[in-house]
Symmetry: C2
Subunit: 311 residues, 2 copies
């Protein structure tokens, strides 16, 4: 345990110290077997990885650094010990990479499906907090990484878990072991390079709507600018779907969606130099009118509300 | 929301400030339908009350003051809206009484039973932390309130939910709406009147063993001194059970079990003046030998290990 853990697992509660001058970020996320994951093709270590990655992504979206985690495992009596060990291995491997201390939690039986509940705390200085409510008309809209790959990974696993082309294997990895964008989140906050930020857990369309609603604005997104991998495009075209509309509906990407004022462009260029190979793509602009528009060469389409997850 | 909540529900994560000089206490507890509660006789508001009370009790046992809560509700699709509202009402009513802010959480579907996961943070100054590991030979052993009432309440509800004598009604209330000992916990910590402390979620026998193991000591408990209500005694005798052995096995009491050095007796008297009508009973002594002994007029018995809950 790091020195800031005063009381670790095994007492009534954990006790931790704070970073000087910092605030605490708190988030909790539940993963339910049969709703959020399918054990037939999500291995135990990936269940653990995803449970923590989802919460890490929330912490990154606030511009914060993760710190302490609490894990609740609600397990059917038939669950094999190997599976439990695998889930814990997946949690602990990702925790170690991001210097997260697992300070507590609990284990319970259930007559129902496996439930994994992760609570994560983080640390952020007051002026570095990224909220969803800061977008202003004229801001540029950006997204990290590729959108929609995780959806293709899931659909490909559902169709045939045993084999995939290299391109679809990449999509499967993005679904099974998403990489939360911790460095990008912290840098955006520290450099004050973003006006509003959130993470994409329920798809880009949902994310656009959340930021627009929280900020009281609209957005116009350029369909041609969207970072959609060739593998994802090919998959959707082979299944007779519009790759753009399918990709903006896809969940589980855990990329960051953010906006930046014109005055923040210089700072954003500074951030881009320090995020390594992670692409950050300008996909549109914030508007005063409240509409959410996907603009193609042919026409403008409204971003559909109330997307159903492909789950 | 109180002023210390910088970002409340609705963003990627909540952000809170800290009390000056204080550390954070973190705890999470899961309540699963069919394991921890039975909806046939636990009303929705009591489900919510218990979910928060369990975590509040953990915070009290650390000598801390509760602060922010995160609630995860994992709900079967068939759950009625009234039930969800009732659970939230139960949580919010108890939260208001203890000035806890519900800063976030999430709602998920499940193909299985209702799961309520509560995460609670608290605030404690470094020198006021109560851990389980501080008991030393010669310490007195104390417990707040009555032990075993909740077990009788549960058994009585299981036998016939519709009616009960006034005495058993009290036991039912103790099961359905336990009162976490927040004031006693904070006062014991603030006055440094306890050497070791924990809360009784799994019964007195389990609590004695936990403190003894964490502190590397044993205990001798006087059976005659145990605070067992006349209602609980009558219930167990009517069912042919030894009231002492049944009561120390009973879970769900959420009383505080603590030890105090001889030098802390004066401070403890000070605490006793400020806990109102809550009884605090001396039940035994900490020993150097590692045995856990229940001493009756007739004989010494070992505290059984591995009690099964009456669930």
């Amino acid at each position: 345990m790091p020195a800031w853990v005063v009381v670790g697992p095994g007492d009534d509660a954990a006790v931790v110290t704070h970073e000087r001058g910092a605030l605490s970020v708190l988030t909790t996320d539940v993963q339910v077997e049969g709703i959020h994951f399918d054990r037939r093709f999500v291995p135990p270590a990936a269940i653990g990885h995803r449970a923590l990655a989802v919460s890490l992504s929330d912490v990154a979206a606030m511009g914060a650094t993760p710190r302490a985690a609490l894990l609740s495992l609600v397990m059917p009596g038939t669950l094999e010990v190997d599976v439990v060990d695998g889930i814990l291995d997946g949690v602990l491997a990702l925790a170690a990479r991001h210097r997260v201390a697992l300070v507590g939690g609990n284990i319970s039986r259930t007559p129902g499906p496996l439930v994994v509940d992760m609570t994560l705390t983080g640390s952020v200085h007051p002026r570095r907090i990224l909220s969803r409510a800061g977008a202003r008309p004229g801001d540029d809209v950006y997204v990290t990484g590729m959108i929609g790959d995780a959806l293709v990974g899931l659909q490909s696993l559902q169709a045939d878990p045993t084999s995939a082309s290299p391109e679809r294997e990449t999509c499967r990895e993005r679904y099974l072991r998403p990489e939360p964008r911790m460095r990008a989140g912290v840098l955006l906050g520290r450099n004050r390079a973003a006006a509003a930020c959130m993470d994409l857990s329920d798809g880009l369309a949902d994310g656009l709507r959340q930021i627009a609603d929280a900020s009281g604005v609209g957005m116009t997104i350029a369909a041609d600018a969207l970072p959609i991998s060739t593998g994802a495009r090919a998959w959707h075209e082979a299944h007779g779907r519009d790759p753009v509309m399918a990709s903006i509906a896809g969940g589980d990407d855990y990329e960051l969606l953010f906006t930046a004022h014109a005055t923040q462009r210089g700072r954003l260029r500074g951030v881009l130099k320090h995020v390594g190979s992670l692409p950050i793509t300008r996909i549109g602009v914030v508007t005063k009118g409240r509409d959410l528009v996907i603009r193609t060469a042919a026409d403008d389409r409204e971003v559909p509300s109330g997307f159903e997850h492909f789950r």
